[in-house]
């Protein structure tokens, strides 16, 4: 009971402290909180890395489902860690050395770019299946919006000439307005959630 009260109190205090600069500008306070958060993040990263290694090593040991993937993951993670630590030991900057740059340029970059290259395929596939399904008002509205954007943005062809500046005045404000509405709602939800946590109405640390 006392422990929960203390946790809730600390959480509320942290949120209120972060909100204080909006009333009373205190860059030093904000900086201190940010640095505290960075320290916590570093600690959490270390714990998470150890938990990550433990989970995959257990899967390898027990030969659970997908254990070869776990083996590759563990070996690559340890290799990068050792290389970065070694480069930091030798050159003083673990992330900026040539070894890390080589891993990034020839490992991370191609992998993520390849994965990103899959996105249009699956997006178009999902869109195709959705449009082939039962037609609904949402699908029609979505279609109209997508067609407008694509036709307007598909430069290099004569299609935009058919629409003219009227489309720019009508379609783009609708799109921007819609996104802004969503973003306002997001901001509203974030504010309500954080205020409820700060006021102790919601207890994410448990009852």
């Amino acid at each position: 009971m006392i422990r929960r009260v203390v946790f809730t109190g600390v959480l509320s205090l942290a949120i209120l402290l972060a909100l204080v600069p909006y009333l009373w500008p205190q860059p030093a306070l904000r900086q201190a909180l940010t640095e505290l958060g960075s320290t916590l993040l570093a600690y959490a990263t270390l714990v998470a890395f150890l938990a990550f290694l433990d989970a995959h090593l257990r899967r390898i040991r027990l030969q659970g489902e997908g254990w070869p993937y776990s083996l590759v993951i563990v070996l690559s993670a340890l290799a990068v860690l050792i290389l970065a630590a070694g480069e930091g030991w030798i050159r003083g900057s673990g992330l900026a050395g040539p070894w890390m740059m080589w891993i990034y340029q020839y490992g991370v970059l191609p992998l993520e770019a390849s994965l990103g290259a899959l996105l249009p395929f699956f997006m178009i596939l999902a869109l195709w299946r959705r449009l082939r399904a039962r037609p609904s008002v949402e699908a029609l509205l979505f279609t109209a919006g997508v067609l407008s954007v694509l036709i307007l943005r598909s430069g290099g062809t004569s299609l935009p000439l058919l629409w003219g500046p009227l489309s720019h005045a009508v379609v783009e404000p609708l799109i921007t307005g819609g996104v802004r509405g969503i973003l306002l709602g997001v901001a509203l939800g974030v504010v309500v959630m954080m205020l409820r946590i700060a006021l102790g109405l919601d207890r994410p640390m448990g009852r």
Partner: protein
Amino acid sequence: MRRCPVCGALYPEEAQICTRCGADLVDGPGEIEGTLCAVCGYRNPPEAVFCEQCGVRLKEAEEEGEVRREEAAGAPPEPGMPEWLLAVEDLFPEAPPAFPETVEEERPPFGAPPVEEAQGPGEAPPSGPEAPILPFSEEMEPEAMPPEEGAPPGPPEAETGMAVPPWMPPETEASPFPELPPLFEVPELGETPPVSEAGFSGEEAPPPETAPFTFFPLEEEAERPPAIEAPSPGGEEVEALPPPWPEGEELPEWWKELGLTEAPPPGSSEEVPAQAPPLRAEELPEEVMTAPPATAPFQLEEAPPPPPPEEVPPFTDLEAVLAEMPEWLQTLRPVAEEGGEAPVETLLPLEPVVVEEQGPLAGLVDVLPRHPQLVEVQGPPARLRAEPIPELRTRAEAWGSLLAQGLTFLIGERVAEPTPAGLAQAVERGLLFALILVALILGLYWPLPFFRPALLTPPTAFVAALDEAPSGGLALVAVEYGPDRAAELDGFLRGVLQRLSDRGVRALTVSLSPWGAAQAASVVLARPDYGERVMHLGYVPGHEVAIARLLSQPLRRFPADYTGRPVQDLPIARDFGEEPLAARVSLVVLITGSPEALRGWLQQARGILPPEVPVIAAVSAGIAPYAAPYQESGQLRAVAAGLRDALLLAGEVAEGSPAFFDLQAQALLQMLVVALIGVGLGISLFAARRREG
């Protein structure tokens, strides 16, 4: 411990009154009047014909010593007993227990666990005062009665035994229990292994409640004949069998009911057998009727092992037995052997496998044959007495429609259900992917006639802001994207750096994330003018707070660049002094694909930078709506979005250049998506119309 002289219950020495019958244990009951019920032990008044407690006929119970194994010791037959059970009991009436004179020991008190039955010959019976009272005489061999000739074989040399209910009082009166014909099982069951019907093993005594079955203690393996073999009606068995009734005695009524004419042989207290046979007396072989009493005691360790049967005479009068047998028991009849010879150590031949060929059970084996009455239509189909009311019909239709929808009505209509897996879906996916790939390759390598890049509008405002930076001035370029956005935004970084370098503007690249720093390093460090016109400060930790710290930090205080070289050693830092960066920077360029980074930089930088310093942003196409409000409010001077603006940054695109083909591929893919949308909608509308039609 003392016994009650009236009912035989055991009490401690200090007990004075029997709580069961009320007799005085100290002085004795005195003259005991009345008739003792042989079933429940209740002392009835002398004139009672039926026991007042259990209802059994006292005369029969007393004269014949017939003991019926009830479900509970001493309990009267339950009124709710089903008729079929009573009929079964009629088939297997229990023989009265013997009260051998030799048994003088105290019997276990009422409710004590039943004594064990007699074991095999090699096993010692329980000894001591708790010795069971066994019905067989010492002379008798506990053999099964050999069946008559022509009758199916009886059980093998199963030694029959029966535990006397422990509540049975010692029989003080002479109870000429007639010797009943020895036990044998239902002939049709003769081919079963010599296990008692109740399945008891020799070590366990059957509880007295489980009437009315016979208990055949299992013999030792060595002495047990093969299971299928029928016992031989050898003369030894015949000899061993006791005479059914002692001579000179008046025939008991039950004997007469059986139709037996000869008097039962003179019996001793070691009586017989537990069951009365279901056969008529005239069906019994004469040897049985005249067999001398068995001499072997029922203490089976002294009895010689019975010889294995050699042949089993067939049972001829099956119909008579079947006439009295209940139908349910008839279903247990084994298949009759042909030739009348018992199989010898052979397995029953497998019946031919019958496979059902028609109907919903086609393909299954061992399907019960169809009853002709069930197959044939006996008459016209039944008709509803009345039509269902409309409400019921509506409910049924609604239920049917819900079921037709599948599980969606259970888990909610608006849930994304799994896509059906199958060859059609895989082919559809493959074809679509192939179409996209063809369009991409076509656009990247084949100049199409309808594509005119001159129609494209370059980001003039963005370029103009870049060109406004003074030569020799300092521009801060924030690189806030990772490998996933690199393909789209690397063009902006290269183009911005090149345009700034061409105009003599020095550029400092920085990032708030390690990814951005590494991505910028891959572009910046490869430039030939690195150190002179461009310098990469690398990763600054602290998120938004780092922006304020960076802009507020004096230029001279920058320690080193991303590669670790001291900033002061680079030509680009020749005029770095104590003034903060915010005072020296003349342009801030944000290259990002993340709205959070865009928001953070704008919020922090705009609060520190002088209002005349422009901030421009090059963003990915997806976050163009996020940048629009800042552009409209003036916090952002210009915005360039997407791959198209990046490719057009350098000006017009020459035909055949890489930028030309990139733009063409993008346009072709967009047109493909438009076409797919149209085709997909058309298919769905057509399908909907067909569904309605």
